[in-house]
């Protein structure tokens, strides 16, 4: 039997946007404490965070067809605290409330209390990590059922969150973009860590007792998803950004780094990170094969 993935592109978009929103809020708090003078970039993060997560949630509700037709049933989401999804709802609700309050306070030019930013950051990290746990508890899919996945999604979420803030910042606030060197150097390391995590995930998954682990990994690196995996994820999403940022941050002259050309090179690297972040979610959701379809009789 051919296997049709249970979750599709809509869920991949949701996982991507939830991570990106959480990461954008983390970025805004990072800027608040490390680059407090760059208020424009901070505001970009504070706006992107609730907007991205809310778009993701609308997609999610639309995908949950039975709930979409009977919206009151969504209230039942808080009834089973043994479910990762229920925890996700708690984190998402808290995050969206905090992120919206922070965004409104920012626009009203009120000082956002530090504890509120820290609370939002913690919730943002929880949202990002939960998206990995959501898939991670499904024991039928070797590609998901590993503790590496939440870590990979968390790192990718922070990376995409920083990338979106820097990408918009390069066009809207070019002066501030040149000043946030510490943020850029922190961001540089995330795709590097991701490369290690992805390699680890693939090695561990391929050694799963079920042949579904090996089959999932092969689907990614040499099967239907090979082009997306090598070109869009590994090259565009991780390696090229690492090379470009390495060039800009450590090799290029200060003059080139802060020129319009330098900014566009950084922006291209950030766009690559965003593409890679989405493709990662899409591949993980779509390429995972369940143990019982590959060989239901091998137990």
């Amino acid at each position: 039997m051919t296997y049709e993935p249970i979750w599709g592109a809509i869920i991949a978009w949701y996982l991507f946007l939830a991570g990106l929103g959480g990461g954008a809020f983390v970025t805004s708090t990072f800027i608040r404490f490390r680059h407090p003078e760059c208020h424009g970039l901070m505001r970009i993060g504070r706006v992107v965070a609730p907007v991205a997560v809310c778009i993701g949630l609308v997609l999610l509700m639309f995908d949950a067809m039975a709930g979409f037709q009977h919206p009151l049933r969504f209230a039942l989401l808080l009834t089973n605290f043994g479910s990762v999804m229920t925890w996700g709802v708690v984190f998402l609700a808290a995050f969206v409330v905090v992120a919206l309050i922070v965004a409104v306070m920012d626009f009203m030019k009120r000082d956002v209390p530090a504890w509120l930013d820290i609370l939002g950051t913690v919730m943002g990290l929880c949202v990002a990590a939960y998206t990995g746990c959501l898939l991670g508890v499904c024991q039928g899919f070797p590609l998901w059922n590993t503790a590496l996945l939440p870590i990979l999604f968390l790192v990718s979420a922070v990376s995409t969150g920083m990338a979106i803030v820097l990408l918009i910042g390069a066009f809207v606030k070019p002066d501030e973009f040149n000043r946030v060197v510490v943020l850029k150097k922190f961001h540089f390391w995330l795709p590097v860590v991701e490369l290690i995590l992805v390699a680890a995930l693939l090695f561990v998954t391929s050694a799963n007792p079920s042949p579904a682990g090996w089959a999932s990994v092969m689907t990614l690196i040499s099967g239907n998803w090979a082009v997306a995996f090598w070109v869009l994820f590994i090259a565009v999403g991780l390696v090229v950004p690492t090379i470009l940022e390495c060039w800009m941050l450590w090799i290029a002259s200060h003059q080139l780094e802060t020129s319009r050309t330098g900014q566009m090179v950084s922006a291209a690297s950030d766009a690559g990170v965003l593409i890679g972040g989405f493709v990662l979610r899409l591949m993980i959701v779509s390429a995972a094969l369940p143990i019982t379809i590959v060989q239901p009789w091998m137990f």
Binding site: A64, A66, Q69, T86, G140, T292
Partner: protein, 180 residues
């Protein structure tokens, strides 16, 4: 002792005719694209000595049911009688249970969006019915329904006699046993 409903499927008798699946669709009034029974086939051996095994898979009514533990709304749950069911009025259609089920035997109703699966209909719908529709419909008598806890039941005796086991060992403490 409490009744613990279970089923046995003898794949050495199964001819893969799908009579159980169509009977189940009629009994449970399912949509044409909604199946509670899925067939997996395996060929072994080399020509001309080839053996084809048909394995009908359906909800195993696991004692340790992953669908119930991940369901965020409590729609998927295990009842006091040990039968795993889906409360159609609580399901939001997030499909988390479908991802959590190691057997991939849950289906989404394309009209309501809610998830459904084998209900052990003898117990759930037909009061006084002695067996499930699929058991009755099987022309090869490959299926037995009954009480796992009653050592004298046909089910318990056949399991012992033929050494039947759940399809995935003790993965989820499934209550559907297979003769292979």
């Amino acid at each position: 002792m409490m009744t613990r409903y279970g089923m046995l499927i003898d794949t050495t008798k199964c001819v893969g005719c799908s009579a159980c699946r169509t009977a189940c669709q009629r009994q449970n009034n399912l949509l044409p694209d909604e199946d509670f029974i899925r067939f997996e086939r395996r060929e072994t051996g080399k020509y001309p000595n080839v053996k084809v095994e048909t394995v009908p898979l359906q909800c195993m009514h696991c004692d340790d049911a992953p669908c119930a533990s991940v369901c965020p709304t409590g729609a998927a749950h295990k009842g006091a009688d040990g039968i795993v069911s889906v409360d159609q009025g609580r399901c939001i259609g997030c499909l988390y249970c479908m991802s959590a089920c190691p057997y991939q035997v849950r289906v989404r109703n394309s009209q309501t969006g809610a998830v459904d699966k084998c209900r052990f209909c003898a117990v759930q719908t037909e009061k006084g019915a002695t067996t499930c529709t699929c058991v009755e419909a099987c022309p090869a008598h490959a299926r037995v329904f009954g009480d796992l806890d009653d050592p004298d039941s046909e089910l318990a005796r056949t399991i012992v006699e033929k050494g039947a086991k759940p399809i995935a060992g003790d993965l989820t403490q499934a209550k559907v046993y297979y003769v292979r």
